[in-house]
């Protein structure tokens, strides 16, 4: 048993790194399509990247941007929160989140004025 457990753990390591690598690939592809303005496809890729690696802070950040672009603001906020929890103090994510909050405040101001 003493031998089996470390072996099992070892066998998991390459699988985990393979998933992380595939997650990065999905993230990169998502960025490519986002640059072409294909935000639905980009969102799908970032979500897939997160299925493969739930610790991928970049994918959470990118997913948040895609959600924001599609008008899904609640989910965008959650995704930014998760990205910052995984990478606290990341200046790029923080900058995106600040800009998101600024735009969200503008939206809320307008919504409050509705009759």
């Amino acid at each position: 048993m003493r031998v089996i457990i470390p072996l099992l753990l070892l066998s998991l390591v390459p699988g985990t790194s393979r998933a992380a690598s595939r997650s990065e690939q999905e993230t990169r592809f998502g960025i490519d399509v986002a640059r072409k303005g294909l935000w639905s496809e980009a969102r799908f890729r970032f979500e897939k990247a997160l299925e493969l690696d739930s610790q991928n802070a970049s994918a959470f950040n990118n997913l948040a941007v895609a959600l924001e672009q599609q008008g899904d603001f609640e989910k965008a906020r959650e995704a930014y929160d998760k990205a910052l929890k995984l990478k606290p103090g990341d200046s790029y994510i923080q900058q995106n989140f600040d800009l998101f909050k600024e735009a969200d405040a503008k939206r809320n101001r307008k919504a409050k004025k509705k009759p």
Partner: protein, 255 residues
Amino acid sequence: MPSATGRPRRSLSAVALVPLLSAACATFVEVPVETPLNSKIDVSSFRRVLIAGFVTEPGEADVDLSTETSRLIQNQLRAGSKLQVLEPDRPPLGDALDKIQQSINPSGKYSKAEREQYRLEADKVLQDGEYWRKLGEEYQSPLIVTGRLGFEEQNRSGFQSEERVIRDPSNRPRLVRGNRYLERKGFTLSADFYFLDGRSGALLHKEKFTEEVLYGDEQKASPLSSYFELMDRLLPNFLGVISPQKIRGTRVLLQ
């Protein structure tokens, strides 16, 4: 120094450095984003829009505010909304306002009290649901846009504090505080827009916008060009009331 595996420890530290370096070189891509912003009122039940004209100050004016604004808004709505823009020969509110002017003073030259009376009477029309319902019936139940407009000359010339660096006799820089007279004149455009339901005459939404432009001593601008400059600033906000807008910006995507 060799490690237990016989490999030099250097390679381990190199392995440990890889993620650090890749983190440091993390690539990012800046992308433009357009986040949607819903309109303030839902106009999906309307097929037409009528710009009924606007209440303005009585008497001579540098700019025919009601006509110019009606025309500008009609053009904007034709390009920026799905509604069919109705084009009456003359803004319909004009007739009602003419009647008020005639009843107060047919000469068109008003005293201060008469001006105030005109404002009150015009306000009554703006708030008269029955008047707007009848007008709506005449134009096949459109969304009606009307309101009150003001365009005033402004003089904000005056002394303004400033700091200058001068050199004293020994050529040393010195900060000097002082006041300087600045000539600043311009115009203010205020618009109080009413959005009315042509089926019932009910007020759907009311929104006030104010814009100001000031010019320095050397800059000269006619009232008409200033009016257009101010309307240019105001129109996107106006359109945001009845059609969805987009907030443009940039975000960073991370690899």
